[in-house]
């Protein structure tokens, strides 16, 4: 017996509650990687990536379905408290509650009638309708601009952190190197200080 539309939709809503939306993922993350990463929190039912056709952002997003809604909520909480990094450091991923519109195939929501009509240029409200269209385009451009700005900032932060990390590493290497070839000992002897630890 085919389930009714309402039943189908109710089942779908249940599914949505159990699902986590994760983004800020690297494009190199595969289904297995993601599954393994989340497995430590609880049982994973399904992982689905959300395709990204044209926003210029290069992070990926996915929908991870857990076994219960409670688990999903807990994980979202945890990921909000301490950063989880997948496949690389240090950028943490972000977890949010999934929403119906994120899913690829949704059942229709009970007999909704969609009325659409054409408006000719002769219609009195045509100018207004045109304005709405233009507004939509403007908003889309604004959103796009913001994404680009965000991307630029991300790049900056990445480069900045890269630099910091490199110099830090160099510093440690230097110290290590100095200790390894005995320079530290000689310097200590020279200055008459006592070395701790070594």
């Amino acid at each position: 017996m085919e389930p009714s539309d309402d039943e189908k939709y109710a089942a779908f809503e249940e599914k949505v509650k159990k699902t986590i939306y994760i983004d800020n993922l690297s494009p190199l993350v595969t289904k297995t990687v993601l599954e393994n990463a989340i497995k430590q929190f609880g049982g994973v039912n399904d992982v689905q990536f959300i395709p990204n056709y044209f926003t210029s952002s290069n992070t990926c997003a996915a929908l991870v379905q857990m076994q219960s809604a409670k688990q999903a909520e807990e994980i979202i909480q945890e990921m909000g408290d301490s950063p989880l990094m997948i496949l690389g450091m240090p950028r943490p991923v972000r977890a949010l509650k999934a929403q119906a519109e994120m899913f690829e195939d949704r059942p229709k929501q009970h007999k909704r009638k969609i009325v659409c009509r054409w408006m000719d240029p002769t219609h009195p409200n045509f100018e207004l309708a045109k304005k709405i269209k233009d507004l939509t385009k403007k908003h889309a451009a604004e959103t796009q601009f913001m994404i680009e700005q965000e991307l630029a900032k991300e790049e900056k932060l990445h480069d900045q952190q890269s630099e910091t990390l490199k110099t830090n590493y160099k510093k440690y290497e230097l110290i290590d190197g100095a200790q390894a070839d005995g320079n530290v000992k000689r310097l200590a002897a020279q200055y008459g200080t006592v070395l701790n630890d070594y």
Partner: protein, 474 residues
Amino acid sequence: MSTLEEENATVSGDIEFRWGRKGRVGKKNPNIQYYESFTYDGVDYFLYDSVYLWSGDQYLPHIGKVIKIYETPRLKKMVKVVWYLRPTEVQKWLKGDHHLNNELLLASGEGNGLSNFNPLETICGKCNVVCQSKDERNPKVSMEELKLSDFVFYQTFDVETCRLSEKFPDKIAGVEVGHFFNPKTKGNHGVIRKSNSSSMCDTDNSSTIVSGVPASSSCENHHSMKSKFQEFEVGNKKSIEADSQSIMLKKRPKLLQEFEVDTKKSIEADSQSIMLKKRPKLDTSVWFKKLPWEDRIQKAHEVGSLVLLENLYHSFTSSEVEEIVLDAFNIKVNAKMIQWSAYSSPHNGQALVIFNSKDEADYAIFELKTRCLVIGAARVVVGSRPSLKEPGNHNTSKYFGHITIDAIKRKLTVEMKNAVSTSHHSQPNTIAFEMAMEWWAQQKMWELCRDALYKKQAEEIAKLKGRLKGSGKK
């Protein structure tokens, strides 16, 4: 239209085939045996039936009327069909005439495109085509028959002069025009025919004819639906032979059930309703499982038939978008709602629509530009050609935030490299943690920025909407 090529020459042993009534032998070549009917995969076909034919790489099947059925001396089964043309196929010569969604044009005249000889195996189903011509030789159809029909036609398209006409000549392709009109009813009430078969079919095929009052029409519908299921089977198997690339229908079981529900609805539906039309009964585009969306979108983008629709309601499903396009443009398309992600604007629902050709896409975009398609109270749809991300750059696009130290990398052993799945929870006393915090801070800041932007946009939209509604619109 060229002769349909069949990839594999013979009917596979799987599909049941039986000749029906024999006709005459060929006049010039007595080794050719004509027939008046045959059974193919459980469906009975008769001379002058309207059928679907599939040509492997076409998006939609062709529709034709069988006017000759014969077997060659080499035992090849052939049919001669006169084509029903879809208005989109001859758009060049129609110059903007408006055509109904399920309207066809009967080919007439002489020359290329009137008819073709095809292997019988390209037939993939029966089609219910009803003639609505006012010609006095054409029996009128009842409302029930009209509702049950797949297609209608009332005009001819002369393939020689490339002109439409409502006049029907006496003969088309050497066949009396009477065979193209609706079959003459035999005085039975509520005879609901499934095809334009000639009167010869009465005795042979019990499933198509029911005599009696429309009260029994519901059980008749059941019958006709059953045969239609079988037609799907035919189409299904044809696909295996026809093209090594076309993939088996996965959605079939669902389709059968959908179809049942659809038919019932269309009978009860009010023909005057301005609401969204239900999908046409024989949804031929779902017969064959298609390539995954990624590939289709790329292909369509290259061809130029990909259109981005914006300002839809977020809660639309892909099929609702397809219905809207069907309703607004009378074009069957494939659509996909863009999945909402954290970067999507809550005001702007978007969908990618694949049209059947670049011309259709151009037409749609043009219409959306010059006129206004309004959905619901005040959503005006915006159409445009999207600029897609390049495919395949997927792995090489720079992802910011994963930093490695080259020196350490060099020391990685082979085992370490092969290790799968690295995920890491940072402890507060590491550099990684601090850096993660920096990323978080940035994320948060952008979230706030986005919220502020969307709020502002919402206000702007509400203002315009209010003006639209206030000036007396529904």
